[in-house]
Symmetry: C2
Subunit: 150 residues, 2 copies
């Protein structure tokens, strides 16, 4: 499972690099589908990943305010900051069938379902970015897993 | 790993059902990004999954001709047919670090990288479909892993 997180992080970083010279209004522009903008896609991916991993680790959710993350630099800062914590606390040794409490819908989910969910969530949204990138005449970051080193 | 295949297959089937009343010209229409059309996206996902799994199982690749699969019914038929074989021959017991030969680029890859690759490949392309679905005023199939039963 952790290899998929490494894949997602590497792809995410490549996207943040690819987009660094795109004008802010294009990053914030409301688009059709997905979560409506390129910048918000990153915020959403990062926020969702962190929230679910906090659940697995039995920690309270932390709410981030999107208005504090309106540039790619701020997004990259948040991504790096949370990744450090996630890497240090990743549930490598938590039993995959352990049930954990999900405060935002008062349910319980098992660890393996949550990890699958986080992984698929980011890959799905990155697929959406790849369509929007073409609208900006950019060549999208490769989604290939084969050929990457972690 | 197999759970991700079950997720991808369930999501794929839900997409094929969602799109069954969409006019053929919309399915075949060339779009911006991805692999250019909705119908070809399915063909590509199915073909790629099968080819890599054939490599893992040491079997020769089978080439399919897209011109034989120009309707959703034909795509669903291909998907079902190959899924039966894939389910029966899934490499549950193959060592994940086993190196297998990839004929189309004369390289070797290990089984775990190939399985990660297949999984990410389909989720990525389905993310692209979700943008195109909005262009057709459709509500996309949920990409959520949480809440599904396999």
């Amino acid at each position: 499972m952790f290899q998929f997180f490494q894949y997602n992080w590497q792809v995410r970083d490549e996207w943040l690099t690819l987009l660094k010279d795109i004008p802010p209004d294009e990053l914030l522009k409301e688009r059709v589908g997905g979560v409506r903008s390129i910048l918000y896609t990153f915020f959403h991916i990062i926020d969702v990943e962190y929230s679910w991993l906090r659940c697995i680790n039995g920690k309270e959710d932390v709410l981030f305010d999107y208005s504090d993350y309106q540039t790619l630099d701020r997004i990259q800062y948040l991504s790096n900051q949370l990744r450090t914590e996630i890497s240090a606390t990743f549930p490598h040794d938590v039993p995959i069938d352990k049930q954990v409490f999900i405060p935002w819908d008062s349910s319980h989910q098992n660890v393996t379902a949550i990890l699958h969910h986080i992984i698929a969530h980011e890959i799905h949204h990155i697929g959406q970015l790849s369509i929007w990138a073409r609208e900006l005449n950019l060549h999208p970051v490769s989604a290939s897993y084969i050929g990457r080193k972690f």
